[in-house]
Symmetry: C2
Subunit: 470 residues, 2 copies
């Protein structure tokens, strides 16, 4: 690890010690099932915040679990000198649900095998959060003149409903000159990437009830409406299943086309191939209309989508049950891109459903705005240099298909440059069963963050009113 440490003080910790501590900490946080979407887990989410605050304090930070209208935010500061510049480090510690039956080991017990860390949240985003914390402590030990504010959210997986109000209230206590976010995914293991754009997300449910309870299909079949069929038909009208083209009128209006050469440049640097992408994600086949690598990059990073996540209603147990279901619900979401306004799209969607089948109820949930940043300036240069130094590879500046609600909030409220230094790989099973992280990405990440901190410590803060306290 020595080669990439900036030329401040030498760090005395050995890689072996750092790794042992990192694995211990990751085991601890993964063992707390902080599933923010499941009401039964709410106490665990809170416990995760407390555990995380404890780790930050051990690292020397002043940590606070800040209540919000929902799950808390962990806000911690590691101040080397109030006169030094400050970076806000954003991560989240809440996780996606996990069905133990689908996993090869318990999702909430970290399994360590040959440097692979399997457990829910390992790569999204507990592993990267702890890598950033580890790097900040090492940078402090190395004498890098930088202060750190940790913003560890616990509502990212449910769309960050309270993060903007948390930020607005705390703004004066977060004297950040820049933000670093580590919650994004490389294009491939061999090709690090720095995203400068994110898609937005508009989640919704479609539900229909046509009877008091399920009825026998021998008694009522032919007469009773079948809500599963009606919901299926509506889904088909919203989106072409084969191509994924969204058929809601006006949906694509405003979608910004990629800048000239934008896709090509990104492809050239990353060496991205559709084949490798499908292999990493375990896709048996991809949509048949995507014939080139460019088509694929465009489809997952610059184009909006309409997805069905699950359909409930009727009988789904073992064997068969000849009933006509009395209700059906589809969980859906749309990924949105710059140029699309979630509020406007939600209205178009509602109106469309109403015209197609007025009995179907649409419920939309708080949306995430799409984000388009910049990939120029000193912070972007520092990020590029940090990746090269740590991983020996030129990063690609790319647009990413995911959504991080907090990013839009930080952009609007903190108004400072945001760098994305993610560590997840497509093969890590982000949001899937057997999610994992690995020591290669964790240790490389620690090196990368150290280098980045050394670089940005030298950036002269832009004109900006600073409060006296760090």
């Amino acid at each position: 690890m020595k080669e990439s440490i900036p030329k401040f003080r030498q760090i005395t910790a050995t890689i072996k010690d750092i790794r042992r501590q990192y694995e211990e900490d990751l085991s601890l946080v993964v063992s707390v099932p902080s599933v923010s979407s499941e009401p039964d887990r709410f106490p665990d989410v809170r416990r995760c915040a407390d555990v995380a605050a404890g780790l930050l304090r051990r690292a020397g930070a002043t940590a606070e679990v800040v209540p919000t209208g929902g799950h808390p935010v962990v806000h911690a500061s590691l101040v080397t000198d109030p006169g030094n510049p400050t970076v806000a480090l954003y991560n989240h510690l809440d996780v996606q649900p996990a069905d133990p039956g689908e996993w090869s080991s318990d999702p909430f017990t970290l399994t360590i095998h040959r440097g692979r860390y399997t457990g829910r949240g390992a790569t999204d985003d507990k592993g990267p959060a702890l890598a950033a914390m580890t790097a900040a402590a090492l940078a402090r030990d190395a004498g890098i003149p930088l202060n750190y504010h940790f913003l560890w959210e616990l509502e990212e997986e449910i769309g960050s409903p309270h993060f903007a109000s948390f930020l607005r209230e705390r703004k004066r206590q977060i004297p950040a000159d820049s933000v670093m976010v580590s919650d994004t995914i490389w294009v491939a293991r061999a090709t690090p990437s720095i995203p400068y754009g994110l898609r937005g997300l508009l989640p919704a449910t479609l539900s229909l009830q046509t009877a008091r309870s399920d009825v026998h299909s021998g008694v009522a079949g032919g007469v009773a409406r079948n809500p599963l069929l009606e919901i299926s038909e509506l889904l088909t009208r919203c989106c072409d299943a084969e191509t994924g083209r969204v058929k809601i009128p006006g949906f694509y209006k405003g979608v910004r086309r990629p800048r000239k050469g934008e896709l090509e440049r990104s492809l050239a640097v990353t060496g991205f191939t559709a084949k490798g992408f499908a292999r990493d994600l375990g896709l048996t086949s991809i949509r048949p209309n995507l014939s080139t690598d460019l088509d694929v990059v465009k489809a997952f990073s610059m184009m909006p989508t309409f997805e069905v996540h699950g359909i409930t209603g009727g009988y789904t147990g073992p064997g068969s049950k000849a009933i006509v279901p009395h209700r059906a619900e589809a969980k859906v979401s749309m990924r949105l891109v710059p140029g699309q306004d979630p509020i406007h799209i939600a209205r178009l969607f509602r109106e469309f459903v109403k015209r197609q089948n007025p009995d179907i109820r649409v419920k939309t949930f708080p949306a995430l705005q799409p984000y388009l940043g910049d990939h120029r300036g000193p912070y972007a240069r520092a990020a590029r240099s940090a990746i090269s130094a740590a991983f020996g590879k030129e990063p690609a500046f790319t647009r990413e298909g995911g959504s991080i609600g907090a990013v839009v909030a930080m952009d609007r409220i903190l108004r400072v440059p945001i760098s994305f230094l993610g560590l997840s790989l497509p093969s890590h099973g982000y949001h899937s069963r057997n999610e994992h992280f690995d020591w290669g990405q964790a240790s490389g990440g620690i090196r990368m963050f150290l280098h980045y901190f050394g670089e940005i410590a030298r950036i002269r803060p832009p004109r900006r009113r600073r409060t006296a306290k760090g």
Copy 2:
């Protein structure tokens, strides 16, 4: 009960005693969760057969639990004199699955409240089975010169896969001159009906897998195929959700049109109304193309259907999970009518799916043939007279929308007249939550069966080789 007992000996049992015993027996058999479709319940299904055989023995019958390739059949005989004619009484003791969360009381504990018996199987078909058993014992006590063979199946709800082979093997030991089936549903509480036709049933699953596991929609959304969307689209191509019209080419070929006046006659007698039908079943609305009462009767009794019973795949837990599912499966079935051959329809269905989406796997399950009997002859007259005597109402001869696989097997193998003397009402929640039966139908049923037995004991058996032993 006295008025309707045929003029043989007087029965000495009091109605109070009969009722107490009936409720005790029904409580006992309902308490055994004989769900034939759920592998975990297989021992319970077997136990139900043993319990039932015990009740039949107590009633004086010789009972045997006959093994088959699947669940057993209870075969019992109550012989008054080998020279007397014999009726085979068909019922089934297996039940539909029941989700306790949907019920207002435990589905496998009979709740008795003001003559209403709530529990899974109460009306389908444990209640009617015990009414038939009770009536046979009373008829024997009354000296009615008739022998009884009880055929109590335990695989009716899964399509009677072994009943035909059971019958073929046992044919010589079942010297039936006629069959009585009590597993059908009246048109309304006020309008008893005797079905002479049944729909068939072709169950199937449609499944599609497009990836190794679910993937994050932020990572792969737009590129990854969405199997829930593709299955939805296929369902929509199979069947028009609004009207229920099946769109598989050739599906309606051969469907027999109702005979001239068939629907009208049935309507006139039964006083059926679409409004009452919808109310009894708890349907908020019915398919909009069914504008008259005739349309409704035709739709549920004489026309085939395509139903979706449930769709699995992706995420269906609380909250949301932004994934693209890696697989989806739809449980479907088609009700078929006389003139449609399930094997031919299964082939049309497979070919259609293959043309629409060759990646979707079709699995069909053993089908039930549609059935069209006759409503003339001495047994039909006896049935009509029994209903009039017991319920004070003229029955309607109708076609029923459900399917009883065993009926087709008995028709083909035993080759004797079959009468349908059902006791279930549309409001009984057949196949639904809070299924129930009631003493009104049970006691009326016992009277009806007694009368029927008295009538058919007088019918001179048609020429038919009889074995010496009853």
